[in-house]
């Protein structure tokens, strides 16, 4: 128990060091952290700081307003039904983070389990699970969303399910590769000899050891999840039209791009910046972990 605890502490300390080193040396990481924190801030406080909360939730104003260009009253303008875009974006941040969190955590759980079981149990199980992993890696999320949409219609479940169906396999792949090397470790062998049941070994020794690279991958992926979810919502496969999701907001403005371009372009810019920030975060962490890329360098031959 204490060994496990200290191992855990060591791992946490390692991650902490990684973060502080990245913060010190990488402006890209700092930018990513700032963007991610802003996003989090918006997601939590969005409904409270939105200047027109009811409009943010999709209720058009009582008085006729129509689409208005950005002005001091409406910094990002209003959409065709006269709703304040800033409020909708602020409230939409929570929607975006919610989708990311659910998709990444569920796929992470499935992926870790499948990957480590495949690597640890080996044999037929390994073959079958790898075959499944490979098969599911081939599905693009948007096409699965299209199929789900044709069965169930629009809804949050379409976005979440289609992304989870297509995403877990990537984590399973990484988990599998890492778990295979862990399987050969001495302490796993020792635990096996001491007669610990196999599922206990899996949960005690294999899973904790492979989680770090998979989690770093997961952080890197958050940006891509946001992008894919936005694409699904943009196409009208996912959330319904009056939801303040950023992808939906871009779709809402698509019909008006010549007359009221801000309706589409501003929420789209938020998608870009958020995805960029999250990717920057993950990428600079990964680079920081890789010593090859750390050194000073010039063309020397």
């Amino acid at each position: 128990m204490t060994i496990e605890k200290s191992r855990m502490q060591k791992r946490i300390r390692g991650i902490k060091e990684l973060f502080s080193r990245a913060w010190k040396r990488r402006p890209v990481f700092r930018a990513g952290v700032v963007i991610a924190l802003t996003l989090l801030f918006m997601a939590i406080l969005g409904p409270f700081i939105a200047p027109y909360p009811s409009e943010g939730w999709g209720i058009p104003p009582a008085t006729s307003r129509g689409a208005q260009p950005p002005s001091p009253e409406h910094p990002f303008g209003t959409d065709a039904a006269g709703r304040d875009i800033l409020s909708r974006i602020l409230i939409g941040a929570g929607m975006a983070l919610f989708q990311i969190a659910v998709v990444v955590s569920v796929s992470l759980a499935i992926g870790l389990l499948v990957g480590s079981v495949a690597a640890y149990y080996g044999g037929v199980m390994e073959k079958i699970l790898n075959y499944f992993t490979e098969t599911f890696m081939a599905f693009p999320a948007i096409i699965v969303a299209l199929a789900l949409n044709s069965l169930f219609g629009r809804g949050l479940m379409v976005v979440l399910l289609s992304l989870i169906i297509t995403w877990w396999s990537w984590y399973a792949r990484i988990a599998y590769v890492n778990a295979r090397s862990t399987r050969e470790m001495e302490y796993v062998l020792l635990a096996e000899l001491s007669g610990l049941p196999r599922y206990r070994i899996l949960f005690r020794h294999i899973l904790p050891n492979i989680s770090t690279p998979v989690i770093v991958q997961a952080i890197t992926d958050t940006g891509s999840v946001l992008l894919e979810a936005a694409s699904i919502n943009f196409l009208g496969l996912g959330l319904p039209t009056d939801y303040p999701d950023w992808g939906v907001l871009v779709q809402n403005g698509f019909n008006y791009i010549y007359s009221y371009p801000w309706i589409s372009l501003i929420p789209g810019a938020f998608i870009l910046v958020a995805a960029l920030g999250l990717s920057m975060l993950g990428d600079s962490l990964r680079e920081e972990m890789d010593p090859r890329l750390r050194r000073r360098w010039r063309l020397w031959f």
Binding site: S54, P61, A80, Y258, S259
Partner: protein, 546 residues
């Protein structure tokens, strides 16, 4: 070695290009030169084409059918006038049960054979029999047909089982197109009801008598039509003004149609973002605003709380800011009309209007004891129509003031057509409100009133409205139409009064269709479109330039 591969690739490319060029220049020189001066018209259509069987298609295929096939006569409801097509003259007996049509002698099918009375019988019987067999298609309009007689090649006689306006039936926009019986040989089937014939049509084959022939048919992207030089109409209209090639391009997206217009790739657009039309006019495009009988109707679920309460429905009707709908949702391209029958259509009356009055709406709610209750209602609408979407949003904002929460449920047409009828079996699962849109097949109020609110019309009566008095009134009127038209119209008014008082459905607006076109390529007169045959181009009334 790499260099060898590269040289090999270049050689292969050269050989392929050389062979291709040889094949191209040897085989295609003749037609190539002839096509150089062909006039082309690109007509953008806003939906994909669901099929082009002239007797069975009952949806977006009309845009193609109207150019490839012809009915016996056309009807222009705006001028209340019939226009001869394949038939030049017709008459009915005293009590309107036997109608005789005299066919044009010079009309030919695309295979070169003349249009005969046998062909008319063949075509219409196929529509009717197919409907009787499967329940599908527009053949139901011929339900009262007893038989068709063909006394000679150019005379056709319709025997009906009761007084009918057969002139309206033969001019219907669906189910009355005439084609050659030779389609059986061409497709290799025995029976006209064989599903293989339907498939054959839907692969892009045809044998009609209209001014255009199908050259290629890709229902998801474009239909290419070429001019039929032996069309009888070229004696009336200038053949040289008509395009040699007419392309119906499927562009479902408004912005894409606008892009196509700007890029010079589309000559006539059926739908562009309405707010951009003034800009397009400034850029030198022209617009033709056409009246349509395309009517948008808000239907209440009369079998579910709270929309089963008449006062609630009336409250909603008075809570809609109509002027705002007109300005923000329709942008002026539509006519606010609370009647179920569109403006200018037989049976339309102007006095069925609801005014925006929140106090009155509150009173209605109070009367029903609904004021202050936390009410939640759903509205389903077609998500791709920005007018409907904006209307639903405005409604949501307005009802919020009455303490009613509206949940928006955008759907595709298919989903709506599936959800709407569930009101009969499972009213609590059907949405409280649903926007239906309708355009007529027959120039009669019955078409609207029966389809939308008659309790026998389970498929389209999405209100679940079942009022025996109303049913009897319109059924009686329909029976009378053939013999006593004025009396029939009076009954229709009575029926409409019931609808206005109970409000199971309220008319929202009649669409005004702005066709934006490129005047450098085409000149269009108002007669090029007929509201009864939506989207069909009447080719004699437009002129393609250069």
């Amino acid at each position: 070695m790499n260099r060898a591969v590269l040289i090999g690739l270049i050689l292969i490319a050269l050989i392929v290009a050389g062979l291709g060029y040889y094949w191209y220049s040897s085989g295609k020189t003749g037609p190539n030169n002839a096509t150089a001066s062909r006039k082309v018209l690109v007509y953008a259509y806003e939906d994909s084409i669901t099929g082009i069987d002239p007797s069975i298609e009952f949806d977006t295929g009309l845009v193609v059918l109207g150019l490839v096939y012809e009915p016996l006569i056309y009807y222009n409801p705006l001028q209340d006038k019939f226009i001869p097509a394949l038939a030049t003259s017709w008459e009915a007996n005293e009590n309107h049960t036997v109608w005789t049509f005299h066919l044009r002698r010079d009309a030919k099918f695309h295979d070169g054979t003349p249009v005969t009375s046998q062909a008319v019988k063949f075509s219409i019987m196929r529509a009717l029999e197919y409907y009787e067999k499967t329940g599908e298609g527009p053949g139901y309009i011929w339900e009262d047909l007893v038989r068709i007689e063909t006394p000679n090649n150019y005379t056709v006689r319709f025997i009906m089982d009761k007084p009918m306006r057969v002139d309206f039936l033969v001019s219907a926009s669906y189910g009355s197109y005439i084609y050659s019986p030779r389609v059986l040989e061409e497709s290799g089937v025995k029976s006209p009801l064989d599903e293989e014939l339907l498939k054959w049509f839907n692969q892009g084959h045809e044998d009609g008598s209209g001014p255009y022939m199908i050259e290629s048919y890709n229902p998801e992207s474009m239909v290419k039509l070429v001019k039929f030089r032996d069309w009888w109409g070229w004696k009336i209209y200038d053949i040289n003004k008509a395009p040699d090639v007419l392309i119906i391009k499927i562009v479902t997206d408004d912005v894409s149609q606008e892009n196509g217009l700007i890029a010079g790739q589309i000559d006539i657009a059926t739908t562009v973002p309405l707010q951009d039309i003034s800009k397009l006019l400034k850029k030198g495009f022209s617009v033709l605003n056409t009246t349509t009988y395309h009517n948008y109707v808000l239907m209440f679920n009369t079998r579910r709380y709270p929309t089963n309460i008449t006062e609630f429905r009336l409250a909603v009707a008075h809570a809609i800011p109509w002027d705002r709908v007109y300005r923000e949702a329709l942008l002026g391209y539509g006519r606010i009309d609370n009647s179920l029958i569109p403006y200018g259509f037989p049976g339309h009356l102007d006095n069925y209007t609801f005014t925006y009055n929140l106090t009155l709406a509150r009173e209605y709610l109070e009367k029903a004891g609904l004021l202050g209750k936390d009410l939640r209602v759903e509205i389903m609408y077609e998500g791709t129509y920005s007018q409907e979407a904006l209307f639903a949003q405005i409604l949501k904002g307005s009802l919020a003031q009455l303490g009613i929460t509206v949940e928006l449920k955008p759907a595709s047409w298919d989903q709506m057509a599936e959800t709407g009828p569930t009101v009969w079996d499972n009213p609590d699962q059907a949405p409280h409100m649903i926007i239906n849109d309708w355009w007529p097949t027959l120039p009669s109020p019955y078409d609207f009133l029966y389809s939308l609110l008659h309790s026998d019309s389970k498929e389209w009566n999405w209100a679940g409205y079942n009022n025996t008095l109303f049913n009897n009134l319109i059924d009686k009127a329909w029976d009378l139409e053939g013999s006593n038209y004025e009396e029939a119209m009076k009954l229709y008014v009575k029926a409409q009064n019931i609808v206005y008082e109970e409000a199971p459905a309220i008319g929202l607006w009649d669409e005004i269709k702005p066709y934006v076109y490129n005047p450098r390529h085409v000149a269009i007169s108002g007669e090029a479109f007929n509201p009864l045959y939506m989207y069909v181009l009447f080719i004699g009334h437009l002129e393609v330039k250069g």
